[in-house]
């Protein structure tokens, strides 16, 4: 007696991973950094993450519906949440709620879905959202609070909520009493006004490596990044290239004139370099595909960031660096195709 069977194409093996799994790993890897961030900067951090997530999922669902795509597999792939969380980690913890709304509108609708949705975006959506609000709303986007242990005012959960949702600080004296320049702001304005680093670094905002508190957050990101490397969610090329290029390129300047140039480790642990190295520049969709291409991409991010920090108008330049490198990624890919077997 014979029996018939339905057929299917090889390989006849269950897939090992899925997109949602990859994205979940990324979110999991962000946990130590987020916890450190919330520890030093208060509940505003977590509220920003939630806000951005809600807006991102709203726009994601809206666009999927509008583009007549299946809702479930794409909402459940966590990619919009990764975008939202990465964005929320870049903005001041007390930024007004509509900042997230505008940013996610540009990130999800313009940068992602108008380019064709998941896998098709040329630019990193989180960075597009961030740059749009950074340029459009400079005041809201530069109102950074210092780490809690440096703050003179107590910022309770209710104050934080009121500040975020009303845009007004519910404390006498308003914004001026609670905001403070970030370490990178201080460096930039300080050096530009002719002050020297030894003097500047006596400011209480500086710690051993970068800004006080900031260095621990960066370490948290690095820890998560190492987890991603271990899990092979990301390759070693981009993080290594970003961090190594920052160190190598800032080393000569520091050696020549340590009074006006921050030391390489300070460069790495300040601002968003570590976050970008492991989580943002590693975005596979908007990055390069070949290993050599990824090295070039990472070096480009490190270089452009340093150039903007030194000569540009913004204290940090990671977002611009990533977007500029996104533009060049297809060309880099063209010139870095790996040699085929037997070629």
């Amino acid at each position: 007696m014979t029996r018939s069977f339905p057929t299917g194409a090889a390989p006849h093996v269950a897939p090992q991973t899925n997109v949602a799994g990859v994205m979940l790993q990324v979110l999991l890897a962000l946990v130590p950094g987020v916890l450190a961030y919330a520890w030093f900067f208060g509940p505003g951090v977590l509220i920003q993450i939630m806000l951005a997530t809600v807006f991102a999922l709203f726009f994601e669902a809206l666009m999927l519906r509008w583009r007549k795509r299946k809702l479930k597999p794409f909402i459940n792939d966590y990619s919009a949440i990764v975008t939202a969380v990465l964005f929320a980690l870049c903005i001041p913890p007390l930024a007004p709620w509509w900042i997230s709304c505008v940013a996610m509108l540009f990130a999800i609708v313009f940068a992602k879905h108008l380019y064709g949705g998941l896998g098709q975006n040329v630019f990193n959506p989180a960075m597009v959202g961030y740059v749009v609000v950074l340029i459009s709303f400079p005041q809201a986007m530069t109102a950074w609070i210092p780490p809690l242990f440096l703050s003179e005012v107590e910022l309770g959960l209710s104050t934080v909520l009121v500040t975020i949702f009303s845009g007004q600080v519910a404390i006498a004296g308003g914004w001026d009493t609670i905001t403070q320049a970030t370490p990178l702001d201080l460096l930039k304005t300080g050096i530009e006004s002719g002050r020297l680093l030894p003097e500047l670094s006596e400011s209480p905002v500086f710690g051993q490596l970068g800004g006080k508190g900031w260095e621990w957050i960066a370490s948290g990101y690095a820890l998560g990044g190492i987890y991603l490397l271990y899990k092979r969610v990301i390759g070693w090329q981009v993080p290594t290239a970003v961090i190594a290029s920052v160190i190598v390129l800032s080393l000569p300047a520091w050696l020549i004139d340590p009074a006006t140039n921050p030391d390489p480790l300070q460069q790495v642990f300040s601002g968003a370099i570590v976050l970008a190295a492991f989580f943002i520049a590693t975005d596979p969709v908007s990055g390069c595909v070949s290993n050599r291409g990824r090295l070039v991409f990472g070096i480009g991010v490190g270089l452009i960031t340093l150039v903007i920090r030194r000569w540009g108008g913004y204290p940090d330049g990671v977002a611009f660096a990533v977007l500029l490198m996104n533009m060049t990624a297809p060309m880099i890919d063209r010139y870095t195709r790996p040699r085929m077997y037997g070629e």
């Binding site: 029996r3 069977f5 339905p6 057929t7 090889a10 093996v13 269950a14 597999p73 077997y341 037997g342």
Partner: protein, 528 residues
């Protein structure tokens, strides 16, 4: 061609050090389940259906008619460039009809259906008992007459590979016993049970190729195999035969990957191992060579694994070609409840069959019954997120994600530049893809399109040439005619002798008319 110095060095190197190939996967082995019992010959089935098409290319022409009796080993299918087909049993040809054949196309094809008489009466075998003094050409002819073909899966005719090899300078014969696909254990069982035959076949092939060295490559987990083969390779005339263990990384049993592992060198793109002075043969092919030469036995049976989570008692058989899969599965206790797919070959590169009525052929090394849990093809396909996992595991160092986009968008020139043709369809990229894109299926489609385009380009090139030739011919004719006219005109102008010519032509016409009247006494007809 390789520079000679490098080749010489290679002779001593092949297998001396283990190298690596790019990518690959660590897959669960699943081989032990089918290695428990010794290999058995199944009882004769009621009917055997031997397909005339057993590989890529043209089908063989049947040499027998329905009702004819055949002897075991009698040729029943002939095919000029490919391998002959022989009757696996003695019996009566019941029919020559279209039946389901075991082929990746899933199509039906001409089969010689034989009802065995149970006598197992052999045709007169013509062994070459003294192979050591036989000429290589006579040995190659013997391989051809015995229908030998590569038993690793590609079924390339052994005599052609041998002849190609003789034309290049071969220093090393590689016997491939690195059965890298999960589940399949037929080569392992063969190496355990017939090591002497494999070594003998290796020596015959080595003589035919004029090679010096034989490297038998096995997986590093085949302990029993290693001792068996090493013992067999200890004979007095077995110098320069070495057994080399290669690490178990799929697809290290691929010809190109195996050569890279053994030598650290890559077979040139679009080239053959013979360009490196090497020839690869499957261990089962070597055993078949020994049978064919020393005993004169044609290729009519093979070791085959029947296994998978969908089989109650997995095991190996020495099955005659034409035996239906269902016959073998029945001897293994049948299918389990949750069997979902029947595959010929391994889970990575095997092809599915629509029915277990399919017969065992030269290429069938394994019947793999998989369950829903094994294949789980309910996963949704998502867009490519360019994560690059596929490129990390690709043994051909391609960029599958780029190739996928190019094939999907029909950018054939780009796909060719990115090496679509170099894809070995191993399936590694497919398995690791988090978006569950059927990459290999796309690449097969792309390769098919490229072949079609190449054929079309060839055809249009031919048409263009034909057109140009025609144009040239017409122009030439025109010129000739013009020249003739010119000549005539010149002659007309030339008055002298003109009258004579007119007279002569009138005379010729009259003669013709007279002659015609003479041969046609009833008078002139219209058809002049």
């Amino acid at each position: 061609m390789m520079p000679l110095t490098r080749q010489k060095k290679l002779v001593h190197e092949a297998g001396a050090r283990i190298h690596h190939f790019h990518g690959g996967l660590q897959l669960r082995h699943h081989k032990k389940v089918s290695c428990g019992d010794p290999v058995a010959r199944p009882p004769l089935p009621e009917l055997l259906a031997v397909p005339m098409l057993q590989h890529a290319g043209n089908a063989a022409t049947p040499l027998v008619r329905a009702g004819e009796s055949v002897l075991k080993g009698q040729p029943i299918g002939r095919c000029t460039p490919c391998a002959q087909i022989h009757s696996p049993v003695s019996g009566v040809v019941e029919a020559i009809e279209d039946r389901l054949i075991t082929h990746p196309s899933g199509k039906t094809g001409k089969c010689v259906v034989i009802r065995p008489d149970g006598k197992e009466q052999w045709v007169d075998l013509k062994p070459i008992s003294d192979w050591k003094s036989a000429s290589p050409e006579s040995l190659i002819m013997q391989m051809q007459d015995c229908g030998l073909a590569g038993l690793g899966g590609a079924v390339f005719p052994t005599h052609r590979k041998a002849r190609d090899g003789r034309e290049s300078q071969i220093h090393t014969l590689v016997l491939n016993g690195a059965e890298c696909e999960p589940w399949i254990s037929c080569d392992e069982m063969l190496m355990r049970e017939q090591p002497d035959k494999i070594v003998l076949g290796a020596r015959i092939l080595r003589k035919v190729l004029g090679a010096r060295h034989v490297v038998i490559a096995i997986e590093d987990q085949m302990g029993a195999v290693e001792s068996a083969l090493s013992r067999a390779a200890e004979c007095a005339e077995c110098q320069n035969i070495s057994v080399v263990k290669v690490p178990k990384i799929y697809p290290e049993g691929g010809e190109r990957q195996l050569i890279q592992v053994l030598t650290g060198m890559e077979v040139p793109l679009g080239g053959r191992p013979s360009q490196l002075g090497m020839v690869c043969q499957n261990v089962a092919t070597a055993a078949a060579v020994a049978d064919a030469v020393v005993e004169g036995k044609p290729l009519i049976e093979r070791y085959i694994t029947v296994t998978g989570h969908g089989i109650v008692n997995p095991r190996n058989f020495l099955a005659l070609f034409g035996t239906s899969f269902s016959h073998l599965v029945g001897l293994c206790g049948g299918y389990t409840q949750d069997v979902a797919r029947l595959v010929v070959g391994g889970p990575m590169m095997g092809y599915p069959v629509a029915s277990d009525a399919s017969p065992v052929v030269k290429a069938s090394n394994c019947i793999l019954a998989l369950t829903f849990d094994d294949i789980s093809d309910t996963q949704v396909e998502m867009p490519c997120i360019r994560c690059g996992e596929c490129a990390r595991v690709c043994p051909a160092t391609l960029l599958p994600q780029q190739l996928f986009a190019q094939v999907k968008n029909e950018l054939w020139a780009e796909a060719a530049e990115y090496g679509l043709a170099a894809c070995i369809e191993c399936g590694c990229c497919d398995v690791v893809c988090p978006s569950h894109i059927p990459l290999v299926e796309w690449f097969r489609f792309g390769k098919g399109e490229q072949r079609k385009q190449a054929r079309e380009a060839e055809a249009s090139e031919l048409a263009r040439k034909r057109f140009e030739n025609r144009e040239a011919r017409l122009t030439k004719l025109k010129l000739e005619r013009a020249e003739k006219m010119q000549r005539r005109k010149r002659m007309l102008k030339d008055k002298s002798g003109q009258q004579d010519r007119i007279k002569a032509s009138i005379e010729r016409a009259r003669n013709r008319a007279l002659k015609h009247a003479a041969s046609n006494p009833e008078g002139p007809t219209d058809d002049t």
